[in-house]
Symmetry: C2
Subunit: 115 residues, 2 copies
């Protein structure tokens, strides 16, 4: 599959797919004419990248994860460590956002009292 078809299938710009490759997340083969040739599972990899980003992983972290996944099949332990540390980050995130939320509610309440 060439890059245009892959991009269309996943509805993302070709530039982003090349960008991920530049960041080391993908390593497509090449046709005789130099065109990138993607295996069928490239779509799944790209979806995985999107999912991981949504879970809060950076492209560097995803690159490392993918590298381990291809080399020596990731140990469930390593995956658990990664997920657990990300969970802690998200928890902190939620706590901070909740604090901001309370603060804004307080400000809105103050505002009511002075109108």
């Amino acid at each position: 599959m060439r890059i245009g078809e892959l991009a269309k299938k996943l509805d993302l710009p070709t530039s982003r797919i090349r960008f991920y490759e530049a960041r080391g997340l993908l390593k497509p083969g090449r046709n005789l004419n130099g065109y990138r040739e993607y295996p069928d599972d490239a779509a799944a990899t790209l979806r995985l990248i999107g999912d991981a980003q949504r879970l809060g992983f950076t492209l560097s972290e995803i690159r490392e994860g993918l590298a381990k996944a291809v080399s020596n099949r990731p140990s469930p332990g390593a995956v658990r460590v990664a997920l657990t540390s990300k969970l802690a980050i998200i928890d902190r995130h939620i706590k901070e956002a909740s604090a901001r939320r309370r603060e804004i509610l307080r400000l809105l309440k103050d505002l009511e009292n002075c109108e």
Copy 2:
């Protein structure tokens, strides 16, 4: 007060204070020698900027808010609109983070079952 003293008082680099000025958030006076001279309330303004950032406002939004605050005293209505729309953004944020959290917990559970 000069920039160094102000920076020390708030424990932030002078570069950041100049950066905020470049973004239009501060407009200090100048001494005869060209040094920036800050009124006492500059510290409060800088704290306000920090608070607003923590509440999720961008520097542009804060600049607009400060501009309205000095020109024609912000109407409580305008402030409420700003806070309410920010509240909606934070709520969405929290919802998304919670969804990510659940997803990670699910993955961790799956991991337990396959160990």
